[in-house]
């Protein structure tokens, strides 16, 4: 896809990737204060991974599909465990996880860990979609 002497593209992608990643993490973490949340934040994080993979040569380099599936399954199981603890032990989300004042970052009980889990699942899945559908061979 990209020849190996496209050094401007590679360097520009290396400079841009941290900013896109920070933007995606901000959207995910502030899901209970501003519009956003796990799904849109996960898509933006996936776009930074995809930019890295596209711009780095003929054989795109990046994490393997097996590792991404492992991360997504662990994140899904963590979502289920946190929700199950909240259902069966009713003061899990009131005592252990921070309740806080509405408007802080560390508030809202189980909402912040669930947002992070959903962000992981969506980012890994979008990256797998691109690796399999968008690239040949």
């Amino acid at each position: 896809m990209i020849e190996d002497n496209d050094i401007i593209l590679k360097q520009a992608a290396r400079v841009l990737t941290p900013f896109i990643l920070i933007y995606g993490i901000y959207i995910t973490f502030h899901g209970h204060l501003t519009p956003g949340g796990g799904f849109s934040g996960g898509t933006v994080i996936a776009s930074s991974l995809i930019l890295n993979r596209i711009s780095s040569g003929n054989h795109g380099s990046g994490p393997e599909i097996d590792r991404m599936m492992g991360i997504a399954s662990i994140a899904l199981v963590c979502y289920g465990l946190i929700k199950a603890m909240g259902t069966f032990f009713p003061d899990f989300t009131h005592r252990v996880l921070p309740r806080g004042i509405p408007g802080d970052l560390l508030s809202g009980g189980a909402i912040l860990p669930l947002n992070i889990a959903v962000g992981f699942v969506v980012a890994c899945v979008m990256y797998i979609f691109f690796c399999l559908i968008g690239e040949e061979a």
Binding site: T34, P35, F39, I101, P102, G103, L132, I133
Partner: protein, 129 residues
């Protein structure tokens, strides 16, 4: 005459139905598989627009609470349809991804993405064997 005024006030529903009919005609009239997938995506978007627009109330704000203290529910828009459509959007994305995977598989097998040519190839294969 009053029904025309009523129709003109419900412009959102007319836009949603127009998008639905446009997507449906794209789905029916093209023989390229990628264009059919695009038409299906436009139909999905039109249904989301119809559903989310049920929650709007004139003159109220978006449902981000401000002013800590007492909350008056009479100054915020209905948040329930937006929360329900989030699941629908994710399902639409999943279906599109699976359709695209099947199209890649068809292209690898037949060498073309056109529905008519694929049917011709299948017909000639079945007629010969």
């Amino acid at each position: 005459m009053s029904s025309v005024v009523h129709l003109a006030n419900n412009y959102i529903y007319i836009a949603s139905f127009t998008l639905f009919l446009i997507g449906f005609s794209i789905l029916l009239l093209n023989s390229n598989l990628i264009k059919k997938i695009i038409g299906m995506n436009i139909m999905d978007t039109s249904v989301f627009l119809l559903f989310i627009s049920q929650g709007y109330i004139k003159g109220r704000k978006a449902p981000i609470l401000e002013g800590g203290g007492s909350v008056n529910p009479a100054e915020y828009v209905n948040p329930v349809p937006s929360a329900l459509i989030l699941t629908g959007i994710v399902v639409a994305v999943s279906v599109t991804a699976f359709l695209l995977a099947l199209t890649v598989k068809l292209y690898n097998l037949y060498g073309t993405v056109d529905m008519d040519e694929i049917i011709e190839i299948r017909r000639s294969v079945d007629g010969n064997s």
